[in-house]
């Protein structure tokens, strides 16, 4: 069953297609937008710019380090480079260049990593990007955006162009259903409340937003109402929304398609541990590498299905009631 179907969400195409649409719009609107490709433009969606503006599209080949430092040079001359590849290749191969050439001086370079999380599924773990929140989170000048649907992807790309400074945008080849309409806000650093509820709160990002909405549907059948926050910006983190959710519900579950250690949940826990200790559960990839399989199988193996989230919610509510 497609993610979000249980919650009645409108199906969409793969998220990467909306990146392709958004980056083309951005290039049309702003002549300073340029695209660099690690020879995966037909996979990431970036190839839309190659067709429309070949002079502003540079295939740097299978050489991510070079691509990042070239991007830094372009940004230093006033251009707005989008360095694009599979998320794992981009952040892991070029982390040193991202850190030294881009992050330290806070250059206006945008990284767009596609095929994130476990969505390369049958390709196996080498191309999965399940450490990218930890890696980008280790770069203090970076804004980190994790869209969860077509509308937020398109708005994230435009927000990244507008923002002066380095940005990492996480994309995916998984179809993520519509959560938002055009009129819904997407403000960098401000989590979106996508479902109201008072028994517990699920703080999710990316693909796990529709999965959490499915979980909420299951829980509602048992009379449990959960709030869901779409934490689409991992930095700057919306501390106020986290604290409010903890204060209002007293029980928090985080859900992310990423290693639990060093991920979004860890960042949320840091906020709560300091300012409002609250019972928590963490949904994500435990300390082991996924293997090949369908995404559904991998999500089940890692404890990341709607059923797992629903169980975690009930578990954290039990803990809340004991204390």
């Amino acid at each position: 069953m497609p993610y979000g179907e249980l919650a009645g969400l409108r199906p969409a195409k793969q998220l990467r297609e909306y990146f392709g649409q958004a980056i083309l719009e951005a290039a049309q609107q702003n002549p300073r937008v340029v695209v660099l490709d690690g020879d995966l433009g037909n996979s990431t969606g970036a190839a839309t710019v190659k067709k429309a503006f070949p002079e502003r599209f540079f295939n740097i080949g299978i050489a991510e380090s070079n691509m990042i430092s070239i991007s830094a040079g372009l940004a230093s001359c006033g251009y707005i480079p989008f360095a694009t590849s599979l998320s794992s290749f981009l952040l892991c191969n070029a982390y040193e260049q991202i850190r030294v050439s881009v992050a330290i001086a806070g250059l206006n370079v945008k990284l767009m990593g596609s095929h994130s999380g476990m969505t390369t599924n049958r390709e196996g773990p080498s191309s999965m990007s399940i450490e990218d929140y930890a890696l980008s989170g280790g770069l203090p000048t970076f804004t980190i955006l994790v869209p969860s649907d077509p509308v937020s992807m398109i708005k994230a790309v435009h927000a990244a162009v507008k923002h002066v400074g380095p940005v990492y945008i996480r994309s995916s080849r998984e179809p993520m259903p519509y959560i938002y309409s055009e009129d819904d806000p997407f403000e960098v650093g401000k989590a979106n409340l996508v479902r109201e509820g008072g028994d517990a709160a699920i703080i999710a990002c990316g693909l796990m937003v529709p999965v959490s909405l499915d979980a909420a549907t299951l829980l509602a059948q048992e009379g449990i109402q959960v709030r869901i926050l779409d934490m689409h910006t991992l930095r700057p983190l919306d501390r106020a929304a986290i604290l409010k959710a903890a204060k209002d519900t007293g029980a928090i579950v985080t859900a992310e398609e990423h290693m639990i250690r060093g991920g979004m949940g860890s960042a949320v826990a840091q906020v709560l541990a300091q300012d409002l200790p609250t019972p928590m559960r963490f949904i994500g990839i435990p300390d082991r590498y996924p293997r090949s399989g369908s995404l559904e199988e991998l999500m089940a193996d890692m404890g990341m299905t709607a059923q797992h989230i629903a169980a975690a919610v009930k578990d954290v509510i039990r803990q809340k009631q004991k204390t």
Binding site: F58, S65, N66, S69, A75, C77, Q97, V100, A105
Partner: protein, 280 residues
Amino acid sequence: MIDQTATEVEQLIEMARGFRLDVLEMTSRYHAHLSSCLSAVEIMTAIYFGGVLRYRPHQPKWEERDRFILSKGHAAPLFYTVLAHAGYFDTSRLAHFREIGDELHGHPIQDSLPGVELTSGSLGQGLSFGIGHVLARRLSGLDYWVYVLMGDGECEAGQVWEAAMSAAHYKANQLVAIIDHNQYQQTGPIQREMSLTPFDEKWRSFGWHVEECNGHNITDLLDTLQRAKQVTDRPVVIIAHTVKGKGISFVEADYSFHGRGLSPEQAKLAREEILCRTVN
């Protein structure tokens, strides 16, 4: 040709002597890469003061400035003294190299000081960064040259060859990589530790125009830099043959000086030698 008179060359040689003294002082205080600076003194003197680089110290972000990108960031002390004497900031700040509260960091940080184009200290990134400036130049229609100073040990980094390949592919012209070929890396002679041979052939086979020169002879450097300006259809590499620690005989003889400065006694001897020995 830049027609340098003998007097002008002599002035540059004297200027280089002053940079050596500054570098000696800066690297003795908190330890820094003295010998890696000394091999590049004439290269940087020729570029900044021999009429090669077009720059405006009081307008460091002038869009049509020629770029000088220091990729071998451990030559920071030399870079800072050259920038200060070029007028980018006051020479009094050189005394605060590596100290908290000023911006003369151990390795340069982009835009922390006027004239610093790139954050460096992790080798291998400057050439790619320079290509970015070339691509930007094409898009903008501006006209400038891009110079990147690299170390020879740095050329062991894979990214250098990614950059070399892509520069040729994109016909990145008005791009000049200068390699301070001082023959040593931290732990020993390059030939012994990780041979680059045949170095010139590697660059040629990647599609670059190759020049070589004596990296301590101002006249040879200026002539070579001038020849580089005649090449407009592809990138140019200048392999500048240099001596690590040039100008201080006991440093020249001992590669273990790579990452450290001198003791007060050694510095005294070094100062005396720099004052009386002319490098050319």
